[in-house]
C-alpha cells in the first residue's frame, strides 16, 4: 500500500501496482488456471467437432449423392465450392462489417458467444466457493465485455471456423487423392462467359502464386452435359484446394492473428473502471494527497482541565456603597440599546476593545477620588474568552480594588450558533476566565441584553 501510494501517476496505475504487490492468492491462481484450462479444452473440442462437420460437408458435397460411375464422380464444381465456402464467406463478411461499422456493440461472432455461454454453464456446474465464483466473474468480465472481450471471442469464432475449413480441406484432399472426379458446370440462364469470368476471378490469386489454373478453354470444355474433355481434372482440383486454402483457411487464420494482436493491444490500453465498488474502497487510501502528519514544537505545559460550570447565583450580594461603573468590552451595541435602561444612573465608560481604550478607562478609574462600589463589565458570550480578555479584566480589577462584576450577554445568539451543549461549554470557559482574573463567582451573571425581560436582575446587578 505504501509503495502504491508513493508511486507517481494515476489512481488506476496505483491500483495496478497495489494488485501486483499484494501477495498473490494461490487458491485464486489455481482456480483461474483451472477455468482457463476448461475454456481451452472446450475450444479444442469445438474445433474438433467443427473439423468433423467440415469433413462431413466436404464428403456430402463431393461424394455424397452422386453415383460412382466408371468415369469417376461428376461434380458441379461451382456448386460444390459455394457449398464449402459460401457460409464461411457470408459469416466472415458479416463479422467484418459489424466490427468495422458497429465497433461499440459488435460481439465476437455467434460461435464465440455460444462457446463462452457453454463454458459458463459448465463453470457454474463446477463452481463452488468464493474463489471459484470470483474467478468465473473475472474471466466473464474479460471475455464478455468491452474491446478485449470482443477480440477474444472473435478468436474463438475464427478458431472454430478454421477447424471447419481444415476438416473440409483435409477431406477434399483425401477424396481427390482416392477418387476420380469430373468437374463440370451447368446453367439454365447464364452463359459460358459468366463462368469464364468467375473462374478467372477465382484463379487470379492462386495463379499469381504460380499455380496452373483452368483457362478459358478448360471452362468451355467443362460445360455439362456435353462432350466433357478429359485431362482438366488436375486443373480444377488445384483450383478447388487453392480456393479452400486461400479463400477459406488463410483468411480465418489471418483474422485470428489480427484479433490476437488487437486483443493484446486492447488489454494493454483498456482503462480500469476505477468506479467499481471494489476499487472505490481504495480511492481514499491511494489518493495523491495523503497527509502525513507530525507534531513539531510540542507544548510543554499540560493542557488545562476544561472549565467546570459553577452555579451562577441569580442575585449577587448587596454592593458596598460608592459609584457604579459600566463598561462594554469587545461588544456591539446590544439590541436593547446602550447603556441598559436599568443602568441609567451609573457611570457609563462606553464600549471599548483596544489597548488605548483600556488605558483610558484604567486611568479614569484610578483618577476617581471615590473608590468604586463595583465595575460591571459586559462581555459577549459569542467571543471566545482568550488571554487578552483575562489580561484586560486583570487590569480593570487592579484599577477598581477588585470589584469587577461580569455580565455575559448574547446567550441566545450563541446558542443559535453553537447548539446547547457547546454554548454551555462556552459559558463555563467565560466563568473560568473570570475566575482567573479574580472575579468571584457571585459577581458573574448571564443576562442577555439583546432581549428585554430580565430588568429585575439587571436592576439588582447595578444596585440602587
Amino acid at each position: 500500500m505504501t509503495r502504491a501510494r508513493g508511486t507517481p501517476g494515476s489512481l488506476e496505475h496505483k491500483i495496478i501496482i497495489r494488485a501486483e504487490t499484494l501477495a498473490a492468492d494461490q487458491r485464486m491462481q489455481n482456480e483461474l488456471a483451472r477455468l482457463w484450462r476448461l475454456l481451452r479444452r472446450l475450444s479444442y473440442v469445438a474445433m474438433v467437432i467443427a473439423a468433423i462437420a467440415g469433413a462431413a460437408t466436404a464428403r456430402t458435397v463431393l461424394a455424397g449423392a452422386a453415383a460412382n460411375s466408371a468415369d469417376g464422380i461428376t461434380v458441379n464444381f461451382f456448386w460444390a465450392l459455394a457449398s464449402l465456402l459460401g457460409l464461411h464467406i457470408l459469416a466472415f463478411v458479416v463479422w467484418l462489417l459489424l466490427v468495422i461499422l458497429l465497433p461499440s456493440t459488435a460481439q465476437g461472432g455467434i460461435l464465440g458467444a455460444l462457446l463462452l455461454w457453454l463454458w459458463r454453464q459448465l463453470a457454474a456446474r463446477v463452481a463452488t466457493g468464493r474463489q471459484r465464483a470470483a474467478a468465473v466473474a473475472a474471466i466473464v468480465t474479460i471475455w464478455g465485455q468491452g474491446r478485449t472481450g470482443r477480440w477474444l471471442l472473435s478468436i474463438l469464432s475464427h478458431g472454430v471456423w478454421a477447424g471447419y475449413l481444415f476438416g473440409a480441406l483435409a477431406m477434399t484432399f483425401a477424396l481427390l487423392s482416392a477418387q476420380r472426379f469430373n468437374f463440370v458446370w451447368q446453367t439454365t440462364i447464364l452463359d459460358a462467359g459468366a463462368y469464364t469470368a468467375l473462374t478467372a476471378g477465382l484463379a487470379a490469386l492462386p495463379g499469381a502464386l504460380g499455380l496452373t489454373m483452368p483457362g478459358q478453354t478448360a471452362v468451355l470444355a467443362a460445360q455439362w452435359p456435353g462432350p466433357v474433355a478429359a485431362g482438366n481434372e488436375t486443373l480444377w482440383s488445384t483450383l478447388l484446394v487453392a480456393a479452400l486454402l486461400l479463400y477459406g483457411l488463410l483468411p480465418r487464420l489471418l483474422a485470428m492473428a489480427a484479433c490476437y494482436a488487437l486483443a493484446r493491444r486492447a488489454a494493454r490500453t483498456t482503462p480500469l473502471d476505477v468506479s467499481q465498488a471494489g476499487y472505490a474502497r481504495l480511492i481514499p487510501l491511494l489518493a495523491p494527497q495523503v497527509a502525513a502528519t507530525q507534531v513539531i514544537d510540542p507544548d510543554g505545559a499540560a493542557t488545562p482541565p476544561p472549565a467546570t460550570m459553577p452555579d451562577l447565583p441569580h442575585q449577587p450580594q448587596p454592593p458596598p456603597p460608592g459609584p457604579v461603573y459600566l463598561l462594554g468590552w469587545e461588544i456591539d451595541t446590544p439590541a436593547t440599546g446602550w447603556p441598559p435602561a436599568a443602568a441609567n444612573h451609573v457611570h457609563d465608560l462606553g464600549l471599548c476593545d483596544s489597548r488605548d481604550d483600556l488605558a483610558r478607562v484604567v486611568s479614569a478609574l484610578r483618577e476617581d477620588s471615590q473608590s468604586p462600589a463595583r465595575l460591571v463589565v459586559v462581555v459577549d458570550l459569542r467571543h471566545t474568552p482568550d488571554r487578552g480578555v483575562t489580561a484586560a479584566l486583570q487590569a480593570l480589577q487592579n484599577a477598581c480594588a477588585h470589584r469587577v462584576f461580569l455580565l455575559f450577554t448574547g446567550a441566545a445568539a450563541l446558542q443559535d450558533r453553537l447548539g446547547q451543549s457547546d454554548a454551555a461549554g462556552r459559558l463555563a470557559d467565560w466563568v473560568a476566565a473570570g475566575r482567573q482574573a479574580g472575579v468571584e463567582p457571585y459577581a458573574m451573571a448571564a443576562i442577555d441584553l439583546d432581549t428585554p425581560g430580565d430588568e429585575a436582575r439587571l436592576a439588582r446587578l447595578f444596585g440602587p
Partner: protein, 457 residues
C-alpha cells in the same frame, strides 16, 4: 525536484485553523478541534504529496490570544534591543526568556517566520476588533505574504464586508471565502489559485495539485454514484421465498428480507462514508419503515407477458440462428433439425432461466417476498441525500451529518425504468443465495450511476 512549499495556518484562537487543516487534508482526525479557546497548543504539520513527493507542508499553529498584549510586548522589546521588527520577532520566537507568558504566540510567530505563505483564518461571524487589528499589524511586520481566509461564511455572513474593508486597509486585497464546515470545491480551487499568486515559483506544482484534487474528486463522485446504484440493484432485485398461505412463514420471510436489506444499506453507508473519508460515527441511517407490504411481480401482468414474449422471441431467434449455422456448416446434413432444436433449446433454456424457478415455485405453492416500492424509494432518497451531504461536508465539520431525504427531486421517477429492470433479475442481487454479476447488470449499474451523478450535480 520541486521545492516544498511551507504554509502556516494562523489566526486568533478558536477561528477554525485546525478545521481548515482537516478540510484541506481530508483528514478528520487531524489535531483536535473544540469550541474552547487554545485547543491547539503546539505546531502540527501535515504533508501533501504529489507522485510520492512532498510538495506542500501545512503547519497548524496555536492561535493568538492576547494579541494586543503581544504587540505591546514586542514593541517594548524592539525599543529595548534597538533592532528592526524582523530581528526583534526572530529573537522573541527563538528565546524563551523573552517570551513572558506569550509562549503560544511565540510558537506561532516562529512558524510564521519559517513559512513562505501565511493563511490567516478569520471567523467571519466575529466583528473586527482591536485585537484583530493588532494581529494584522504584527503580521505586517513579519514580511510574509498573507492570504486571509474567511471561515464560517456559509451560515451567516454579516461581517464579511467589514472584514474585507479592514483587510484592504492593511493592504490585503486577496481574500478567500472558504468554509471549513460546508465544503465547496470551487472555493478550494480559488484558495490554491490565490496561494499560487502569492508564491509564484510554486505555481506549476499548485496547478498539478489542483488537477489531482479535481481528478480525485471526480473519481470519488463517480464511485459514490456507483455505490448507490449497486445498492439500489441489490435491494430492488432481492427476493425471499416463503410458503404461500402460511402467515408465519411470510412474517419470517419479511423479517429476513428486512434484516438483509438493512445490513446492505448499512454496508453502503459505511462504504460511502469511508470513500469520502468520513467515519461511521458521522452518520447512522434511521430505521427502515418496512411495511411488510411486498412487491410482487404478477406473472400474468400484461407488462410481464409482453416482456416474456419479447424475451421468448429473442431466445427463439438466437437458438434458431445458432442451429441454422450448424445446419449450413454441415451442408444441410441435419436437414434443418439443428435450427429447430436450437430454437427450441434457446427458448426452453432462456425461459427456464428467467421464469423457471418462479414457475416451479408457483406450482409447489411457494411465493416470493420483495421490497415494496415506497421502501425502495425511501432508500434511494436517503442514500442520494447522504451522498450529496458528504460532497458538501468539510472535514473540519463537527456535528452529525444532516442528510434528510428531499422529496420532489424526480430521481426516483427517472430511476424507475432501471429499477424495474433490476426487479426482473433476482440473481442480480448480492443478497441472493447464488448471485450473478452479468454484463447486463454491469451496464444497468452504470446507467443508474449516470442518472444519480446527474441528479447530484
Amino acid at each position: 525536484m520541486t521545492q516544498c512549499l511551507d504554509i502556516a495556518v494562523i489566526g486568533h484562537t478558536n477561528t477554525g485553523k485546525t478545521s481548515l487543516m482537516r478540510t484541506l487534508t481530508r483528514r478528520r482526525d487531524f489535531g483536535e478541534v473544540s469550541a474552547h479557546p487554545a485547543t491547539t497548543r503546539h505546531v502540527e504539520m501535515a504533508e501533501l504529496a504529489l507522485g510520492g513527493e512532498t510538495v506542500l507542508r501545512l503547519f497548524d499553529t496555536p492561535g493568538f490570544e492576547d494579541s494586543s498584549g503581544l504587540l505591546s510586548h514586542i514593541e517594548a522589546l524592539k525599543a529595548a534591543r534597538n533592532e528592526d521588527w524582523i530581528e526583534t520577532i526572530e529573537a522573541f520566537a527563538a528565546t524563551p526568556d523573552l517570551q513572558a507568558g506569550f509562549t503560544q504566540e511565540a510558537k506561532a510567530l516562529g512558524q510564521i517566520l519559517a513559512s513562505a505563505v501565511l493563511l490567516y483564518v478569520i471567523d467571519a461571524r466575529d466583528p473586527v476588533r482591536a485585537k484583530h487589528r493588532d494581529e494584522l499589524e504584527l503580521l505586517g511586520r513579519c514580511a510574509r505574504p498573507v492570504l486571509p481566509i474567511l471561515n464560517f461564511v456559509a451560515p451567516e455572513a454579516q461581517q464579511q464586508t467589514a472584514w474585507r474593508d479592514q483587510l484592504a486597509r492593511v493592504n490585503m486585497h486577496a481574500v478567500v471565502a472558504f468554509d471549513t464546515v460546508v465544503y465547496n470545491q470551487a472555493d478550494e480551487l480559488t484558495l490554491y489559485t490565490k496561494i499560487a499568486t502569492l508564491a509564484d515559483p510554486y505555481e506549476p506544482m499548485l496547478t498539478r495539485l489542483m488537477d489531482e484534487l479535481a481528478a480525485a474528486r471526480a473519481a470519488q463522485r463517480r464511485a459514490s454514484a456507483v455505490m448507490v446504484a449497486e445498492l439500489i440493484v441489490d435491494i430492488a432485485a432481492a427476493r425471499r421465498p416463503y410458503k404461500a398461505n402460511d402467515d408465519a412463514a411470510k412474517t419470517a420471510a419479511a423479517a429476513d428480507l428486512k434484516d438483509a436489506v438493512r445490513r446492505r444499506e448499512q454496508q453502503a453507508v459505511t462504504a460511502l462514508l469511508h470513500l469520502n473519508r468520513f467515519g461511521d460515527e458521522d452518520y447512522s441511517p434511521p430505521d427502515l419503515p418496512f411495511a411488510g407490504g411486498a412487491w410482487q411481480e404478477d406473472l400474468f401482468d400484461p407488462l410481464v407477458l409482453e416482456r416474456f414474449s419479447f424475451d421468448a422471441t429473442k431466445a427463439l431467434a438466437a437458438g434458431a440462428t445458432a442451429g441454422l449455422a450448424i445446419d449450413l456448416m454441415t451442408g444441410g446434413l441435419t436437414l434443418g433439425a439443428a435450427a429447430l432444436t436450437g430454437a427450441a433449446a434457446g427458448f426452453t433454456i432462456d425461459t427456464a432461466r428467467r421464469y423457471g424457478g418462479r414457475l416451479i415455485a408457483l406450482a409447489t405453492g411457494m411465493a416470493e417476498m420483495a421490497v415494496d416500492e415506497p421502501t425502495l424509494n425511501l432508500i434511494i432518497a436517503r442514500e442520494t441525500a447522504l451522498t450529496a451531504a458528504l460532497f458538501r461536508r468539510g472535514h473540519g465539520a463537527q456535528g452529525p451529518i444532516a442528510a434528510d431525504p428531499v422529496d420532489g427531486t424526480g430521481l426516483q421517477e427517472r430511476l424507475a425504468p432501471l429499477t424495474r429492470q433490476a426487479r426482473r433479475h433476482p440473481k442480480w442481487s448480492s443478497l441472493a443465495a447464488n448471485p450473478r454479476k452479468t454484463a447486463s447488470r454491469v451496464s444497468l449499474v452504470a446507467r443508474m450511476a449516470d442518472t444519480i451523478e446527474t441528479a447530484l450535480s
